[in-house]
Symmetry: D3
Subunit: 251 residues, 6 copies
């Protein structure tokens, strides 16, 4: 089977990241995975949600949105609808959970880091690109806090990246674009650390259930994709072995 | 390690189902998994959402809610808040997706089946109990349509059930109650068919990432739990091999 | 005229109450009046609305809701609509007012008691069943406070119950079921104490105005019905003459 | 006991009505009951709510609101709050029900009459003044339809008026002003026809339950008050015996 | 060209103001510009919005609304829609800004003055009539504070009035009524002080752009209109040269 | 006085436009005015709002939004707040009005053109940059319709651009950046055609009223700025004298 853009089944789309894409947030990046483009930013706020007041613990929360013009047919703004849809809420909960899983919120102290992922062009894989980009923006913001001495212990414990995999016409594919995604029978998103551990595995076979064998080979593809993504994050963020204390040598 | 209620790690809580629990919906069941109690009902409406008008295809949609008194501390009604929270939306999207995955919506015809899952008492595993119970309510409603000749081909292709698994203090556990769930580091929900296929796999390691080995042994636990649940659904619904056309002999 | 269910005009439907129906709230009861079934619960919260802060006075507030499957045709959730309808608001204001009228809120102290009435099956008279059941749940919750020494003076001064009456085809009927109610020309709800006093009288002749004579004979029916309801509440709650201080001997 | 404004217990406040107070609606009146001032208007719309489409039947619906400056302390606009409060909803449901009860909606045909009651100054009794004024605005609007031949049978069957009564310091009072109302233990609103029939009786003893004797003597006061209000409505609207078909001679 | 109501192009409609129109607010006026009628009121609140807490500075905020019956076809209440429309928000922001521009908010101290402009009948120019009337209500309220010694320095620095001008069929017109306004190609609102300075100039040529010459001659018309409005405000408010400190002799 | 960025008082910031910035909308541009960056897009929809159904007339409507990270301190998403603020509504009404004023909506036919202006970085003048950029996106989209023969007469009649001017420390400035804007006493936005006509003039002197002389010299600055902007738009869009029918030679 030939992929639309001639990639091999286990090949990522071309990925680019432009850091400091917008100037006001403490960290920001424009991440591109092929035609999918997301502005990710991290803003530090010196207070925490009410349930953490006086706990000494920080928080990371994420918001995700699409520009109306990001999709094939214009999507209606959620501000015009007056409410945030289920899909959006699921995605922002996922992004927040993924980032929090690798951060020592105690070490962060009573701060909230707001992650904003705004999709300016969508071509499949916007939630996974958001996580991969958001990790970079988050690290840039945390670096500032750390370099200014506002936090004593570097609180990020691992890299985080995410990728989609799926089954289309019987073939297992890595990093599906929109057209592939809309034809896939099984759709999966996998969030991982740079240590090869899983943070989140979400697989759905709405069109057709899938077997354990398929699940296993999809996970293998996801491991390959995430390994490459982590490598590119590391290139952007520079050697961070010392910041991320416990892992002296980079993997 | 001893479980709170003395169950073995791979043991389900006691499960009960009272069918026709409320009289107006075409199908209804009160499902109890230990102290978790959910009223599941299925109501047939003779129209479809706008995106299916004149398509000849039906739809299944789910709503999930908790009574304010269902939880340890009273939870605020979403009608009072004026909006549906992210967790609720995620769960109702999951229930709808799981049920649609085993129904031939073409064969159903231009009807909507509304699934309502109302948790009257919560003790962990409300979303998986909802799916397991909702399948029974759905089948009861579809049976009525089928017996009245309103649909010609029985549209349900497999049984569906769901169960939670997790890792608590290093031990993999089946069917976590609330107290176990709140202490678990890995939390997973698995929706399966009676053929042992996966419909949905959702695993989260917010507290701590998990390895591939752990993932595999959790899936094995889930398979065991779902097998038992399907057996109980089959007892309630009676032999349905012929209704569910292609699988003559029950597995 | 024969009633649908062969009752006499002045006969109540069969009434049942299952106390402690759900385990988390301090008081709870499943009340059934014929086919009408309502879960009533009372939850104590250790704070009061802003207008009572530092007043030393407590508050009782009620919420009322119907499961979507409770009615003949599925009723849309108010959480989905994003607002609470006028009928619901009227009913929850009525329940709260009725219960507050017999409670010494000063003696309760700065606490809020949340009353939740969730109709799981509706067949007429849901608001009056809610009041009758809510009084039982409230008393159970207050008993706990009183027995734990958290309140010094028992704050409930009288029993409260409520019943509907109406005029159908010229006959005055007690405790109308849904089918009777939908045919009635005059529709009335009467909330009373165990002393035979009126707390609330609401009579509507939307279809046809009614005369003073009719009003009087409907009130007589209501008195009979409420007397019987109070008797049943007393059986459930046990002898409470001493708790409800001033009335040593039960009436 | 002397009343604040030296009225006798059974005396109405001075009542004034200025018809055609605003020019755009088909009927409008400024009604004053003492210091309470309400602009009531009736606007005809040539369509009906969806549940009456193609039924040949009309509808009357009411909205009630207060200017922010109408009360002692500025009340917040419901448009700013983004939702309509329970009290407002109760009142507008009451006004609509009261007017519909004397109109033959079949004879009205497929039209909606919108009743708007906007309180510009509040001093007790705003809901009853609204009903009394709204009936005048409604009749003016219906007169126009009737005189233009747009309806064949005059659809209004009786006059409607409403008054409040209450018990303050043991005395039964007619037409309470705000200060009296805030001290009353029993609060009652009675809507009646010119034939002396009851359309709506709403009595509440939140502060203290009331006896049947009190109820009866309050109803007698209400009858007196409504008789006088109807007389004033008749002066404004002119002899309408022939319009209101069946009652040739005015009572 | 003859104007609909035979006015000359540079002639205002008849203007009337009834002060103390409603009794509860500290200042109130019913302003009529021809058939346009607006109730303007000013209510003092002893607190400020959160962004001014502990700043020693006061605030003036305005709300604007129309009764449903104020317009040719009934306009839907914004409380029923659940949100405030763009036009309403624009107008209330304009009114607030115009009044704040002539008030020394420091001298006012930590108080909020709520301005309410409720249009009871609309015939063009409701926003400008609102500003002209609101200034009178505001001054009445501030007078009370000043006379009671609650503020030491009279904080109002100039009179404020506003008028509309426009171009209809090539003629420049002052103070357009609704029918003229709906035919005008250029529509302009000008807010001025009694010193002939501009506070706000808003000109729109949606139907047709306008030249600089037109703009200048429209501004001249606006100056004439506002001069007359200020004169009438001064008649109502009495000689205030001393209150408005710096301008001893009235201009 | 030296400007922050060393510009002369009548000098624009550096302006850049990247067309086709996002691929799905029919027209799109990233416009930069100094540090202010806005993505403007135009999407064609083959239907019109209900008030234009069957009128043969088209519509242009605009939405404006800011990314949370666009401003100095993160601004809260309007979708999270559940409503669109007054400032946003004012701006989107202004953009829509400005564009409609130069388009022959009859010639456009029954289509809606959605204009989206999403500010990704804000440094003053976002609303005027939005109008200038939106005109380019609109023209690109209309060009496509025209070239595909879907409209017969080119419906755009003039170029439109907009610029801000203001008075800071007594000096009149063109194209204020955020820091200048926050210190300005007079704030003005002027929308013009390429023929030197005014479409919209909005001047506010909240901090201090302004004289007619100031108004005139600000308008002169605005004319200079808009002339330069139009020239740059023409460079981007190419010679369009023939498309914009009546003006053969470009000005």
């Amino acid at each position: 089977m030939n992929r639309i853009d001639n990639r091999k089944p286990d090949e990522l789309r071309e990925m680019k990241m432009i850091t400091d894409y917008i100037k006001h947030p403490q960290g920001s990046v424009l991440i591109e995975m092929g035609e999918t483009k997301v502005i990710c930013s991290a803003t530090i706020e010196e207070k925490v949600p009410f349930f953490l007041k006086n706990s000494g613990t920080g928080w990371i929360t994420a918001e995700y949105s699409m520009l109306p013009g990001a999709t094939h047919t214009r999507n209606i703004r959620e501000s015009s609808k007056g409410k945030i849809g289920g899909r959006t809420q699921e995605i922002q909960r996922l992004i927040g959970r993924a980032l929090r899983s690798v951060v020592d919120l105690k070490a962060l102290g009573e701060k909230t880091i707001w992650i904003d992922c705004d999709v300016i062009q969508a071509d499949g894989g916007t939630r996974t690109a958001s996580i991969t980009g958001a990790f970079v923006a988050l690290t840039m913001a945390v670096d500032k806090l750390y370099n200014q001495g506002k936090i004593k212990v570097f609180p990020i414990k691992s890299y985080v990246s995410a990728i989609s995999i799926g089954v289309m016409e019987g073939t297992e594919l890595l990093d599906l674009c929109y057209e592939e995604d809309s034809k896939a029978h099984v759709d999966m998103n996998v969030v991982m650390t740079d240590r090869g551990e899983f943070i989140e595995v979400q697989g759905t076979g709405e069109e057709a259930p899938f077997s354990k064998e398929q699940l296993l080979s999809l996970l293998t593809l996801a491991e390959k994709g995430n390994r490459e993504l982590t490598r590119m994050q590391r290139e952007i963020l520079g050697p961070i072995g010392e910041r991320i204390g416990e892992s002296k040598e980079e993997k």
